[in-house]
């Protein structure tokens, strides 16, 4: 590490110990931590002393600043990941002192200190400093922290406990450990278990740690169902390590624990049991039975439906169990939808009453949860299709909607979108009828006045894959036409945008579907028959840039789709590609919104690459795209650079370096000189010389130089990579072409200018970049003020943070 950086770190650490220092922006300390982490990986232990970090941590235990104590704990945790760093800290008893400092009442009251403490504990456990954990008794109190008032602290404490149990478990099962290691892990394990057991009543059985954990979790939850975090710990532990799962399978004690989990009748326990049962593929069919599940629903009237739905999800997604078991699960998933529609429940559940779902808002909320589960069950789509279709129809017929019904509607339509038979798949007539009936209902809904924008957008999204069905039916096609004509002038931009996007998506979808070609003619007819072209064309001039942009891209998709399409007739007026290009040029030059200019640039790029585009088009586009390198917007500039890249390839200036040029610039491996194997063939040089002249006269090189001098780093980087490609090519051609300025001054000047660009200046190695970032953060901390004197405005320090613009 550079001596000046070490000095600066030292100075910063000293400054942080100043009790008067005001670090208003606490993210500065997080940034410092991040940067130190990056640097520490490459530094030796002595650097910690040299740069004052050890000294800082030593003194931190005396600090009264919560911010500093938290920072030092987290830094200490990170350092402990390295064994030699940890040993150095422990020689000075730093970790122990910091733990004691954190535990001091005035510090412990602060949530950020508690959080940092458990972060440090997690680091210590994960990086094998188990002896220290054991000796320092630092997990004491972890259990209480699971109930911490701060959700951040509670989660971190849970992580610490989970990590500890997992770690201890994996070490306990590792027989290759030394005796002392085994002894320690056993001790730790006992300590851990005892710690958990002190919070419950029960015996500490000598068996697998996870099984213990499950026992403990079950016991705790049995005593107090609200303490569900124990189950979370158990789930985390089991899910975390596949080796644990492998060890568990077939263990009698574990099976007993699992049964205990199931039989205590509490939903969250049962959920975990199901999860473990299915994950571990345990062959014990009599463990659960349908009656249990039925009892669960029937006996407890106040059903926790969220958990119940998750159980059903576990059953249906993992694997097929007994048919009845799956059947009842699908029935359960139907309940909220049926209750929302005020319909009768399936026969198996007809005797069950659900008093908690009397209110429609609760009913809808659970229905939404059920829909989420159904959305994940692709194998069961066919079973749910009629019900969902019915549900959508029910919602469509509701006299008034609120946000909740709207949410349910969009959710259901999105699921149906995935469920409905895709046009390129053979679908039975029944399905087709069902799909058409649904489309009809949806069309009626969106044709209603004041239908919500989200609803329209969602329905149109659903129509994209089903567009062939619509084309095949005159009624549906007409209804869609009515909708499009009516809504294309809607005052809400979201609706106008959705219609344009829908048209574009229909065109894109038609590429991706194999059998779509049979509908190609119909699609073209529909486009010609409807006022679709008029609509898209007029939307290019919409007042909202989002709509303009979507229209431009749709227009581009139309020309790409039917590249034979030279003329679009609109109300007698002919819109040819010429006119479209002309329009795009105007937008690119004068539109005030970057969003539309970007799309116009994309349109021109697309047209330029079209096969069989006339040369006059290419010339016009080329000039415009080169010119837009001066645009205000960085993404338009990038489009221009994308175009320049095409030009470089077209003129044969790229060679093989094109693909790797970006990587080279980024890595700092810019080619330095010519090499024998890359020498250009003498016969190639002549056309290349011509190409250079053509490129120069088109303004390509000047545009690249403009982009290279741009303030935007992304633009600059991209330009640098392209210049690099050309420079590489020039190395070989220079000798043969002999540019002395007599033939073509402009080309000569341009090439000279390109050559003079020192790309190496622009290249920063990863390490340099990291050091630069570290120095930035250090400077920021050193620039922090000390505590204000009486004359200062007390709000001064905060002012820098409160106004985001």
């Amino acid at each position: 590490m550079d001596a000046d950086i070490s000095l600066k770190v030292n100075e910063t650490m000293q400054r942080l110990l100043d009790p008067k220092l005001l670090v208003v922006d606490d993210t500065l300390l997080y940034q410092l931590q991040d940067q130190l982490r990056n640097i520490l990986g490459t530094e030796g232990t002595e650097w910690l002393t040299d740069c004052g970090i050890v000294n800082f941590l030593e003194k931190c235990s005396m600090s009264t600043s919560n911010l500093i104590v938290s920072f030092s704990l987290q830094l200490c945790g990170h350092l402990s990941r390295n064994q030699s760093h940890f040993e150095l800290l422990q020689q000075k008893d730093i970790v122990t002192s910091l733990f004691l400092a954190a535990r001091r009442t005035e510090n412990w009251q602060e949530a950020s200190v508690r959080y940092a403490y458990y972060s440090c504990v997690c680091d210590l456990i994960s990086y094998h400093t188990l002896q220290f954990i054991h000796d320092s008794d630092c997990i004491k109190g972890t259990f209480e922290s699971l109930e911490d008032n701060s959700v951040f602290v509670a989660k971190k404490a849970e992580n610490a406990l989970t990590t500890l149990i997992t770690f201890v478990n994996s070490h306990a099962s590792n027989t290759s450990q030394s005796d002392s290691g085994n002894h320690l892990t056993k001790n730790m394990f006992n300590q851990c278990i005892n710690l958990l057991m002190t919070n419950i009543v029960g015996d500490n059985k000598e068996c697998n740690a996870v099984t213990h954990c499950l026992h403990i979790a079950t016991d705790i939850v049995s005593m107090d169902p609200s303490v569900t975090h124990c189950l979370h710990i158990a789930t985390d532990i089991v899910s975390m390590d596949p080796r644990i799962m492998a060890n568990l399978r077939g263990k009698t004690e574990f099976l007993k624990a699992l049964k205990q989990l199931w039989t205590n009748g509490i939903y969250s326990c049962r959920k975990l049991a199901i999860h473990l049962y299915l994950t571990l593929s345990i062959e014990d069919e009599d463990l659960f039975c349908v009656e249990d599940l039925m009892n669960m629903i029937q006996v407890q009237q106040n059903v926790d439906f969220t958990t119940l739905l998750t159980i059903c999800e576990s059953i249906l997604t993992t694997r097929l169990l007994h048919f009845t078991f799956c059947q009842i699960s699908t029935d359960i998933l139907r309940i909220p939808l049926l209750l929302s529609m005020k319909k009768q429940l399936p026969h198996s559940l007809s005797n069950v009453d659900f008093p908690c779902m009397k209110s429609s808002s609760v009913c809808y909320k659970v229905a939404s949860q059920a829909l989420t589960v159904i959305g994940k069950l692709q194998n069961y789509f066919h079973q749910f299709l009629p019900m969902l279709s019915e549900f959508v129809k029910y919602l469509c017929h509701l006299p008034s909607w609120n946000s909740q019904t709207k949410k349910l509607f969009t959710q259901t339509v999105r699921i149906l979108n995935n469920m409905l038979p895709h046009p390129d798949k053979a679908a039975c007539d029944e399905d087709k009828i069902e799909a058409n009936s649904l489309i009809d209902t949806l069309l009626t809904k969106i044709n209603e006045n004041n239908t919500d924008t989200m609803v329209i957008s969602c329905v149109l999204e659903c129509f994209v894959p089903m567009f062939r069905n619509i084309l095949a039916s005159e009624k549906l096609s007409d209804n869609l036409l009515v909708f499009i004509n009516k809504r294309s002038c809607d005052q809400r931009w979201e609706v106008r945008d959705s219609i344009i996007v829908f048209i574009k998506d229909v065109l894109s979808e038609s590429y991706s579907i194999k059998n779509y070609c049979c509908a190609e003619v119909q699609l073209r007819e529909w486009f010609d028959m409807t006022a679709t072209m008029v609509l898209v064309w007029s939307a290019v001039g919409d007042s909202v840039s989002y709509v303009r942009s979507a229209a431009i891209l749709t227009l581009s998709a139309i020309f790409l789709k039917w590249n034979d399409l030279e003329k679009i007739s609109i109300d007698g007026e002919v819109i040819s590609l010429d006119i479209a290009i002309e329009k795009m040029l105007i937008i690119l030059k004068s539109d005030t919104e970057a969003f539309s200019r970007r799309s116009a640039a994309q349109f021109l790029l697309n047209v330029y690459t079209l096969k069989g585009v006339q040369s006059q088009h290419m010339t016009v586009i080329s000039a415009a795209m080169i010119d837009c390198i001066k645009d205000f917007d960085w993404e338009v500039k990038l489009k221009s650079l994308e175009f320049l890249e095409i030009l470089i390839k077209t003129h044969g200036l790229h060679g093989e370096q094109m693909q790797c040029c970006d990587i080279m610039v980024r890595n700092g491996t810019v080619p330095g000189g010519s090499s024998a194997e890359n020498e250009i063939d003498i016969h190639e040089s002549k056309p290349l010389q011509q190409a250079l002249e053509v490129a120069s006269s088109s303004g390509l090189f000047q545009a690249l130089l403009t982009a290279y001098n741009d303030e935007d780093p992304i633009v600059k980087d991209k330009a640098a990579s392209l210049i690099n490609v050309i420079k590489h090519r020039l190395i070989h051609v220079k000798a043969d072409c002999n540019y002395d300025g007599s033939k073509n001054n402009k080309t000569y000047d341009d090439l000279k200018a390109l050559e003079s660009v020192d790309l190496n200046v622009n290249v920063l190695s990863g390490l340099f970049e990291r050091k630069k970032l570290l120095v930035d953060v250090l400077d920021n901390i050193l620039a922090c003020k000390s505590a204000p004197s009486g004359d200062d405005d007390p709000n001064d320090n905060l002012l820098s943070l409160v106004d985001c613009y």
Binding site: Q31, Q404, C804
Partner: protein, 502 residues
Amino acid sequence: MAEIRIVPLGAGQDVGRSCILVTLCGKNIMLDCGMHMGYNDDRRFPDFSYITREGGLTEHLDCVIISHFHLDHCGALPYMTEMVGYDGPIYMTHPTKAICPILLEDYRKITVERKGETKFFTSEHIKMAMKKTTAVNLHQVVQVDDELEIKAYYAGHVLGAAMFLMKVGQHSVLYTGDYNMTPDRHLGAAWVDKCRPDLLITESTYATTIRDSKRCRERDFLKKIHDCVDRGGKVLIPVFALGRAQELCILLETYWHRMNLNIPIYFSLGLTEKANHYYKLFIAWTNQKIKKTFVQRNMFDFKYIKPFERSYADNPGPMVVFATPGMLHAGLSLQVFKKWAPNENNMVIMPGYCVAGTVGHKILNGAKKLEIEGRQMIEIKLSVQYMSFSAHADAKGIMQLIRQCQPKNVMLVHGEAIKMDFLKAKIKQEFGVECYKPANGETVCIQCRSSIPADVSVSFLKREASLSGFPDPKKQRIVHGALLMKDNRLQLMDIHLKCRSL
């Protein structure tokens, strides 16, 4: 007893990444979805994994409310809707919906520029997020579902800023977002009716009174500019096109008029029109004076402030230029800065926050030399000034709001813990209500007493009152009677009379 549960994921004893989760009688509402400008990674967004352990956000949250367009209140919205997958209702006012994408787009650019940035929302994400939002009008009651309703109130602060009242049955929570209780040059003062919420969640940025110092700051601002142009210097004010820029323009325009100055003031070309467009569109959201004079004269059609062209930067002589972007990270403001920085006669005034890594942030930290884009070394000789003109309610304003809406409990967010302590004590002392100031992640549970409305006849009340001698109308007292339910209505009646009739 009904319960209100609050967990701030951001803005709990700090400023930045506002995101407060409220559970009001079983309804889960997210108040604001902001980002923290100090981080470069996922920590900039609220950690949504704390909201629900199982299931998605869409099913868990009943709605999301965005108070105004500042990024620390709306910056994480595209991330939440398009990357995390929230698909439920989102509410904000019309101006917020219109202006939000501009800020998000601007911030996206800064972020994507940073090397190594990959996981960030795109322009398309911003558009999709905006399509999912529902714009609301002031005082419009929006029925989220059968039980939950929300209502927006004017908050001042910035164009379109609103406070939101959420109501479930007879219980309610009022969230202020950022607000300003005193009108400024272009916006009005926040206003709310006597809604008596069970809980008022108020920002407390300026928990100590600073109203006078704001005026001093304005005087100071004008003086510094005047001094600089007097000695022939040029003044650059990097701003975001909408918001405080208009306030400063009106301030300068008035001063120039009063002092009869003829030194040119410029505003980035194109942006004036954009700003004017929004202010015309949302004229109802500005203050009374602007609204009144709008028909005769648009206050934003400035006499002294003219559109700026790039070539003007090289003109000799003094001038004042408002240029975007506000953090000097790119564009015109950076170009002008590079030209003017080496001259010690010139001045740059930063009127807002600058993200770490931007040129704005570096010069505010006192950098004397700057390497721009790794090649150009610039000496910073011009004077660098920082002056924030953000409009937040001061302690007096906060107390005024409490007096106005009469909450049963108060919660302070979006401020510093130490200052909150001062205000908390004051609120308890003056209003006798409980005041909370949770840190991020800390859960606060508030039990609300439910009241049951019942009809009582005047004669019954008179009779009861006469039993205790001379009645004092201001004193509460217990009335004894029989509570009867008839046709879904409750009636309090005289026990003896009722017994007789039965």
